[in-house]
Symmetry: C2
Subunit: 369 residues, 2 copies
């Protein structure tokens, strides 16, 4: 595939770590929440192998926060997500589909409950802040909505636990998955969650004190040599093999949570009030007509820049491939596709055009096994 | 400046013209409304000269539409903008700052009135659709809000009038600035406005019939040879020289319309209802404390990737430079900066660090003269 440069400007915001990752050899960016998100440091496959074996520090400042605080903040946050947050606890992260009045997805953030009246919505790539502002204004909610200065750095990979213990002490290894707490680095408290956009384990540091965060970034590389620490970023291969879905890639505002396999996060039976609840009841009653599934394709290489139609043996379109990569683990191309109900049978075979050739593939359940 | 690749994926949407512009030599992209927007075809200065002399066809599909229709559509659209639309006419475009409840800018679209109950908000780079959906839901407005399939191609430059006349006939030259009408191309009607993101004159074709739009794209190049038609895109130099402001670059959700010189679009004296009206009355009463101004800097080259602080002779920060380029017309670097009230005097001198050197510059009014 031909390479195109990214034209930088203030509108594509840099992060506090940009100058560091550029010295460390970042080669490609994507844009996420109007911000630079590193997408490659040379070979994605080499990075994938390193991530699965060692530890990486990622500049994921593009995972922006929408901070909602004030008397009506819990009501507004609940209105935006179909997941029941009535029993949510301070110090915990919650994966929460954000839904519009049509029952379709606006975003799929992790929501952090900082206090009874203070929340961070750690967003995927859409302007949830304006959705929240519109709702708050229309409902005359007593809330304050801002994008705070928070620039996340992620520490991911099997050796992330040892590296973080070396910096923050034993206590950080006791943090449960999707729990967060405050940890001291050279006199500055940092909010750190056990989370991250890989399945290799790790942490996310929600950096509010930029200067201390930059020092921490450098420190992790200084003391991490014994763990073979390296720079990295969310890895296309790892995230597809792990079936971590991506808003905008695998689903968007034309899809509903049942079509994306988010059933466990849709609390239709509770008496909580959220947008699209009636629409989602209808969808559930009728059953979704399409859903995200895995696919395996009998080739060794693919470079997907958009959706690609999938056909049955009679050349009828039965779905569309939305993300794909060569998987070293499965030794073929795998991907995530939206498949029509008529063709949900596992091992359903299909055809797809890649570089002018007709290739065969098979549908499978997610996650891949 | 070092070049970085853009990592393409479905999330960074391609347009119906992407394969064409890649054959025509696009070299750099930016991302705008989650979509590829071409940023350069080789030298930006060569493109600038060509645009000012001949005619270019631009893939600006990234200027997405938010379509608002239904009984309460006029009320919702008015609620979102501080510009009085009560006397707006079908067939006209209106430049309209979109304002939140704090009186700050959400976007600065052109709004097209298609019908008494149907509007297109032709947006700059933020998800206005979710702001509209939030407001509509909170206010229980009877409206339908969608992003329709509309992929704008712009025809810009002094010879755009002759080229478009050759394709669409005499009638298109009678279209007034910011007027729109429907014109036939090989049996398909296209909405065409006399508008565009340059000051060199031209049109924007709001393509709904993708196939016909692609044919039109090719046709413009076939019949445009006599006008030296070329591919192009919004040009950094031309837009700064013309003082065309860019949401995200020159201003954002931390700025209000008075700080951006949008006074003529703020209808505080009318009895219309819009968000942030009381806040903006306060701002007007007190007077803005910062505003966008032009700057001239005594160097021949700059490459801005973010804001850059501007200092007075005592090294106090007096503002920040937000966009800049070398201007062939002024034969020095010019730019757009947010300047604190204490230093609004025209020809105010300042200092700025560029590539480690301290450079002098002067403040001036916008537009540049």
């Amino acid at each position: 595939m031909k390479n195109f440069s990214i034209a930088k400007s203030r509108r594509l915001r840099s992060t506090p770590y940009t100058s560091r990752i550029e010295k460390q050899g970042v080669t490609a960016y994507t844009i996420y929440n109007h911000m630079l998100l590193p997408a490659a440091f040379g070979s994605i496959e080499d990075s994938y192998k390193h991530l699965k074996e060692h530890v990486q520090v990622w500049d994921v400042a593009a995972e922006r926060q929408v901070e909602i605080s004030g008397k009506d903040s819990a009501e507004l946050v609940q209105l935006m997500t179909c997941r029941d947050l009535s029993k949510s606890k301070i110090g915990r992260c919650y994966y929460c589909p954000i839904i519009d009045e049509n029952g379709n997805l606006v975003n799929d953030p992790v929501i952090l409950k900082l206090d009874e009246n203070k929340w961070w919505i750690s967003i995927a790539d859409s302007d949830v802040i304006f959705f929240a502002k519109g709702l708050a204004s229309g409902h005359k909610f007593d809330v304050k909505i801002v994008e705070p200065v928070v620039d996340i750095m992620a520490i991911q990979g099997p050796k992330s636990f040892a590296l973080m213990e070396k910096v923050f002490g034993k206590k950080i290894t006791e943090l449960k998955f999707f729990g967060f707490d405050y940890f001291d680095f050279e006199g500055t408290k940092h909010l750190i969650a056990r989370s991250g956009w890989s399945k290799q384990g790790g942490y996310e540091v929600y950096v509010q004190n930029t200067q201390s965060g930059q020092k921490l970034y450098d420190h992790l590389f200084e003391v991490g040599k014994e763990f073979k620490v390296g720079p990295g970023c969310p890895n296309l291969i790892e995230r597809i093999e792990s079936a971590l879905l991506s808003y905008g890639n695998d689903f968007d505002n034309n899809d509903n949570p049942f079509e994306c396999g988010f059933d466990q996060y849709v609390s239709l039976d509770s008496d909580i009030n959220f947008l699209g609840k009636e629409k989602l009841k209808e969808v559930k009653l009728k059953g979704p007509q399409k859903k995200l599934m895995g696919v395996r394709i009998n080739i060794k290489e693919i470079s997907l820049t958009g959706s690609k139609d999938i056909y049955d043996e009679n050349n009828n379109i039965i779905g569309e491939l939305r993300s794909a990569c060569y998987s070293p683990h499965f030794q073929k191309v795998i991907g995530i596709a939206m498949i029509q109900k008529s063709h949900w049978e596992v091992s359903q075979s299909f055809k797809i055009q890649v570089n002018g050739n007709t290739i065969n593939g098979n549908v499978c359940d997610l996650p891949f096994i």
